[in-house]
């Protein structure tokens, strides 16, 4: 309904002067309430009204009077002179001063004050009372708190059929996201209907994964590309390599062809440092290490067979369970095998046989984790069977440091990226151990039970504070460690490097000793063989004794006979006969005496 009021003015009155006048109010429109309209409305019962239980406060604004400020300077003018003295006239002032100086009071005061003043001046000269002690030493940051870690968040596998979390990777920028690979590692025991999906979780939201990745076969490993945070590389259970771009969606962007991929699950996949940022390599228990370029996934660019006899026989190749690559040493990489041997390889070698540089053996079972120390790349950590071992590249026969044999199998390990002496390990009984070997060497600095089932994988964030560990039932736990474990301690680098050097030296000495002993034994064995060839009739002890007796008696008898012959010769001249006979008798007596002891 339109309400209109029309203003009317005669044409002739246009332009006329306006005369304003008062008049009463006029009612133009009166709209009475229409009860029929009420039918269109329903009474609301109950009414939701939000109230706040707090003290009601009111806000008022007030304007104060302006406070005026002014800056002024003071000009010091001599003053205080008594009335009769004119400060400008030098004579008068001097006279005044002289008068004061003669005043007895003045003299006494000055003497008194002088002595006090002298004391203070001398004190000042003797020692600086405001000296800062201990200025050079920095404030000692003693972290008295015991090492501790607390769980921040838990990400559970939303699927009903639980799979184990086999690999974790942090988002390269800002570490706000975590990519988790889920698969079932028990051989052929993956239950029917198990989902192949893997997830990328946002740390703030543990209820629902942020991005879902859908491969054709469950993923065993998953890695973010450190150069391009949208690209992920996944190693599948069936041996293929898959590549995702999170901007494109959850389906695989690139997939390697089955014929040229691995024959066993891909246990290790790492991105390489290259200008294009598209190169990666992978390792599997089929004994091969393959290099790929994700732009062309149909074929690997290079294949190396892990045969330590250097004959490149696939049958005798060792299966790889873990892979290590440090971008500061781009030509070298290391492979941890199922047989407990670490193989160090050189990528740039000309022939495939030369690629394998050396091996380190020491574990009794598969080496599940292999990582170089981020501060001292010559030393690396291996985790396998029931121990964790630290090796030095110089010492090939044994590890330089190792933990005691635990009750449960160790499944994964990693160094802390901020402290050279700290590393983490996970075990099959669900515990996470934090080791700090400048603090304690025989047992972990902190041992935490994260969950009841086994922990399979572990990843430390780049700032060293957050650790994510994945368990058998797919639960990923995010932990935060206490400050003491993620800040570099004073002198820690030096201490850690000196520990490494000392242990390496000790191992070298032991190695040298072993070698010597082995050489000696070899020498002994060879020597014994020679001797035995001469003494063909091997004599027993009794025979030896009788033989010795016979020889002895022979010698005696020959001597006696000689003496008798001599006696006979000399008995002719009578002068010497008695002496001779005496000599003879003595000789015979001696011979008789000699016989009896045998």
């Amino acid at each position: 309904m339109e309400i209109v009021y029309v203003y009317v003015k005669k044409r002739s009155e246009f332009g006329k002067q306006c005369n304003f006048s008062d008049r009463q109010a006029e009612l133009n429109i009166d709209i009475p309430p229409n009860p029929e309209l009420a039918e269109q409305f329903v009474e609301r019962n109950p009414v939701d009204k939000g109230i706040q239980c707090s003290t009601s406060m009111s806000e008022h604004e007030a304007n104060t009077e302006r406070f005026e400020m002014e800056t002024r300077g003071i000009n010091h003018v001599e003053g205080g002179w008594p009335k009769d003295v004119n400060p400008l006239e030098l004579e008068q002032t001097i006279r005044f001063r002289k008068k004061v100086e003669k005043d007895e009071n003045y003299i006494n005061t000055i003497m008194q004050l002088g002595s006090i003043m002298e004391h203070c001046i001398k004190q000042n000269n003797a020692i600086d009372i405001y000296q800062e002690y201990f200025d050079d030493e920095d404030a000692v940051e003693v972290t008295e708190e015991a090492p501790s870690a607390k769980t921040i968040n838990v990400f559970r596998d939303p699927q009903e059929i639980k799979r184990s979390a086999t690999h974790l990777s942090w988002h390269p920028d800002g570490n706000r996201k975590l990519a988790v690979a889920y698969s079932c590692l028990n051989f052929q025991r993956a239950p029917e209907g198990m989902s192949h999906e893997s997830y990328i979780w946002d740390l703030e939201n543990p209820n629902k994964p942020e991005i879902v990745l859908k491969p054709s076969s469950p993923l065993v490993t998953l890695e973010y590309n450190p150069k391009d945070s949208h690209v992920l590389l996944g190693g599948c259970y069936n041996g293929q390599l898959a590549c995702w771009d999170t901007r494109k969606g959850s389906l695989v962007a690139e997939l390697s062809t089955i014929e040229f991929s691995h024959r066993d699950p891909v246990y290790g996949s790492i991105w390489l440092q290259s200008k294009t940022g598209t190169e990666c390599f992978s390792a599997s228990t089929d004994g091969q290490v393959m290099w790929w370029d994700i732009r062309k996934m149909s074929e690997p660019t290079e294949v190396v067979i892990l045969d330590i006899t250097r004959k490149e026989q696939l049958e005798s190749a060792l299966g790889a369970i873990s892979l290590e690559f440090e971008s500061t040493l781009p030509t070298k990489f290391m492979v941890g095998t199922e047989q407990g041997i670490v193989i160090s390889c050189n990528r740039k070698a000309k022939t495939s046989a030369e690629k394998i540089v050396c091996t380190f053996s020491g574990h009794h079972g598969p080496i599940y984790a292999l990582q170089r120390n981020p501060f001292y790349p010559k030393n690396f950590l291996t985790v396998g069977d029931w121990t964790a071992r630290i090796w030095s590249e110089d010492s090939r026969e044994s590890s330089i440091m190792w933990t005691k044999y635990h009750m449960a199998y160790l499944t994964d390990g990693a160094w802390s990226p901020v402290r050279p002496a700290v590393f983490f390990t996970t075990k099959m009984d669900g515990t996470l151990d934090i080791w700090d070997f400048v603090f304690k060497q025989c047992e972990p600095a902190l041992s935490l039970k994260v969950c009841d089932e086994a922990l399979f994988c572990l990843r430390v964030q780049d700032n060293g504070c957050f650790i994510a560990c994945g368990s058998q039932l797919g639960t990923t736990t995010l932990l935060e460690v206490s400050n003491g474990l993620c800040t570099l301690q004073r002198n820690e680098k030096n201490t850690a490097s000196s520990i490494f050097e000392r242990e390496t030296r000790r191992e070298k000495i032991l190695e040298a000793r072993h070698r010597e002993m082995r050489l000696k034994e070899k020498g002994k064995v060879e020597g014994k063989e020679d001797d035995q060839r001469e003494e063909e009739p091997i004599l027993t002890l009794e025979e030896l004794v009788t033989k010795a007796e016979e020889e002895f008696f022979d010698i005696i008898f020959t001597e006696l006979k000689k003496k008798e012959v001599e006696a006979m010769k000399k008995s002719k001249p009578d002068l010497k006969a008695d002496e001779e006979v005496e000599g003879e008798d003595q000789g015979e007596e001696e011979a008789a005496h000699v016989e009896t002891p045998t």
């Binding site: 003053g79 001063r97 003043m117 002298e118 001398k122 000269n125």
Partner: protein, 104 residues
Amino acid sequence: MELLDRLEMAEVEETLKRLQSQKRVQVIMVVNTEGIPIKSTMDNPTTTQYANLMHNFILKAWSTVREIDPQNDLTFLQIRSKKNEIMIAPDKNYFLIVIQDPTE
């Protein structure tokens, strides 16, 4: 009388000279309660400035001490700054001001 006065004056002179001869002492000044410099080893304008400024400061410090505890009294005042140290020995009638280079 004059002899005694002279002797005493000489003593005063000696005392002040002794203070001046101490290590690192730069300036010695004697100021009365009205702010008039009686004796000074510095030039006049600077002395005047110091005398005026110190005067106010000393009175303030003295009154502060007395206000906190009426039984208390100001015995010595030291102002240590980056470049020097100003030491003031106050008395009822006169102030002895010494400026020294701080030991560093």
